[in-house]
């Protein structure tokens, strides 16, 4: 219950509760002891008084002299707290009483010897003896009221002392708690400033050499360490960024030189093969002409590979220029661009429910071109081919899919599907360089989405990619 209050009030509450409890316990113990000793003393006194009265009244009892006995008892007037006394003879009959005409009911007969407390009174019997012979019994009743009154007064004093003590304790703790709370508050304030302003250059003020001083030192040391780490971190980030920039530049230079220089010899191969074919075809036999075809085809294939690789590297490097893209019209555009291949075939298209997304339009076009192109390519053996393109909304993502009834793929190799230059079909079955899906994955992941695929063998394949609904 103290957990959420400020430390100053906490310290004072703890102090006051502790001192209050100690004072209260002390008072209670003291009071209890007082009551106990007072009672014992009273019993003792009453007993002694009884002894004296007994000793004096032996003669009166022995001679059956009631007047003498009454007179002796009347001496008890000196002790105002004794409210009643009586002497019983050996027969057990009341022999004399004090005060003489007391309306108080005396016990009819003596009971067991000894005094006991009841209803604010101390009353009891004690024997009247002479030379070992019991002559009768003395009864006395003592009013404890006065004593309790006195005790009450003491209690009042004790309460007053307690109030004064607590007040003093309060004032003292209010001053002294500062010794503890001020350094803690200073520390807390510094910590707050650090966490709010992210300024690690501030330092907490130290107030002494105690544990709080140690804590302040440690805290300041940690701040210094963080400040240093921050500085080196920034330094390191700068360094790494520099290295990355260099690496990126080198990569750019590399792909630039690939683009320029690697393609040139291929062009030459294809070009001169063509010239050779034109000029010297008749000098070559069938086999020679076939070799020329192979040389030219290989050169072109390598050209395609280089082009694809360059596209791939461009897709990874270029900046994303996000804009609103209408998926539906983009998909139709891509599909229409493939008419060269699709016109001669029967394909049942089902394109439905494609939402607008925020993406880099040329890159997204590349994604659709690859996925739709694959669907068209791998359903070539089907008549009619069926290609379904759609979108589901899952949580805060759009999940697009392209489903075909083509040859599908073996789910065993699904992991290889999106790798660079990974192919699951031979080039003489289905042409391709194996870069398309790698491009898809790269582009989609740069947009914050995922790519995956499913196939049940010969029954076709479904390719999925997700895009976040909102981009930050």
């Amino acid at each position: 219950m103290l957990q959420n209050i400020p430390i100053q009030r906490k310290l004072m509450t703890v102090n006051l509760l502790t001192s209050g409890a100690v004072l209260l316990l002390t008072c209670l113990a003291f009071f209890g002891y007082e009551v106990l000793t007072f009672r014992q003393a009273t019993v003792q006194r009453l007993f002694t008084l009884g002894k004296i009265i007994s000793a004096n009244s032996t003669a009166a009892l022995a001679f059956d002299d009631r007047d003498a006995a009454t007179e002796i008892l009347a001496a008890l007037k000196a002790e105002p707290h004794i409210v009643a006394a009586g002497l019983y003879g050996t027969t057990g009959k009341l022999f004399a009483q004090y005060p003489v005409n007391s309306p108080a009911a005396f016990p009819a007969a003596p009971e067991q010897d000894g005094y006991h407390f009841e209803r604010g009174h101390l009353a009891g019997f004690q024997p009247v003896m002479q030379s070992g012979r019991r002559l009768g019994t003395l009864y006395m009743e003592y009013d404890m009221g006065a004593m309790y009154e006195q005790l009450w007064r003491r209690g009042e004093i004790a309460a007053l002392v307690m109030v004064v003590s607590l007040l003093t304790a309060y004032l003292l703790s209010r001053t002294l708690q500062k010794q503890i709370s001020v350094p803690i508050l200073a520390l807390a304030e510094t910590a707050h400033a650090v966490s709010k302003q992210r300024d690690f250059s501030v330092r907490a003020v130290k107030f002494g050499e105690d544990e709080l001083g140690l804590l302040t030192d440690a805290f300041n040391q940690m701040l210094a360490e963080i400040q240093k780490l921050n500085a080196t971190l920034e330094e390191r980030v700068r360094e790494r960024t520099g290295q990355l920039e260099i690496a990126n530049k080198e990569l750019e230079a590399f792909s630039y030189s690939v683009s320029h220089d690697l393609r040139a010899p291929l062009r030459h191969v294809d070009g001169f093969v063509d010239l050779l074919r034109k000029q010297s075809a008749e000098k070559l036999d069938e086999r020679g002409r076939r070799y020329l075809d192979i040389i030219a085809a290989s050169a072109r294939q390598m050209g395609t590979l280089i082009d694809d690789l360059l596209v791939f590297s461009r897709m990874s490097r270029g900046d994303l220029r996000r804009a609103k893209v209408a998926s539906e019209s983009l998909v139709h555009e891509v599909k229409d661009a493939m008419q060269g291949e699709t016109n001669s075939r029967r394909i049942i298209w089902k394109i439905d429910g494609l939402p607008q997304v925020e993406a880099d339009a040329p890159m997204l076009r590349q994604v659709w071109a690859n996925l739709i192109g694959n669907a068209v390519k791998y359903s070539r053996t089907r008549d009619p081919a069926e290609i379904e393109i759609g979108c589901d909304t899952v949580n805060d993502e759009f999940v697009f899919f392209v489903r075909d009834n083509g040859v599908g793929f073996d789910m065993q190799y699904v992991d290889k599907l999106f790798g660079v230059f990974q192919r699951l079909h031979r080039a003489d079955e289905f042409e391709g360089t194996g870069i398309g899906l790698a491009n898809v994955r790269r582009i989609v992941s740069r947009h914050g989405g995922r790519t995956w695929a499913e196939s049940n063998g010969d029954g076709g394949a479904t390719f999925f990619f997700s895009l976040p609904k909102t981009t930050n």
Binding site: D274, R300, M302, G303
Partner: protein
Amino acid sequence: MAPLKRILLAEDSERDVELTMAALEENNLANEVVVARDGAEALDYLYNRGKFAGHANGFPVVVLLDLKMPKIDGLEVLKTMRSDPYLRHIPVVMITSSREEQDLIRSYELGVNAYVVKPVDFQKFVESVKQVGFFWAIVNEPPPGTMKRSG
């Protein structure tokens, strides 16, 4: 006096020159072509100096520029031409291996008239060169001061 040619081809690779010429031949434009083997030579021709000093006055109908050449590259030739009040109107076509965005952007920024990427497939290349040659040397009306077609 150097012969009068209507097409200036700046290309450093001998093989590319041969292939380009073979392609132009198909359009009967080969003998209208003068070849500069780097950017410096191309500028020499345009400024009528150095190796080409003393050729007849007049500008080519089109300059076919390779991007990557020793000494002075295609972009620099283009830049020099565009900043020269006498040469700035001459149509320039980049014929290059590069499909790199930066090259495209730089070329268009400097005011290129067309940008043709040399495909690996020679037949496609022949087709491209044919079209370029046909358009710029035959269809297009060149700016005043350009050489008239010989013959």
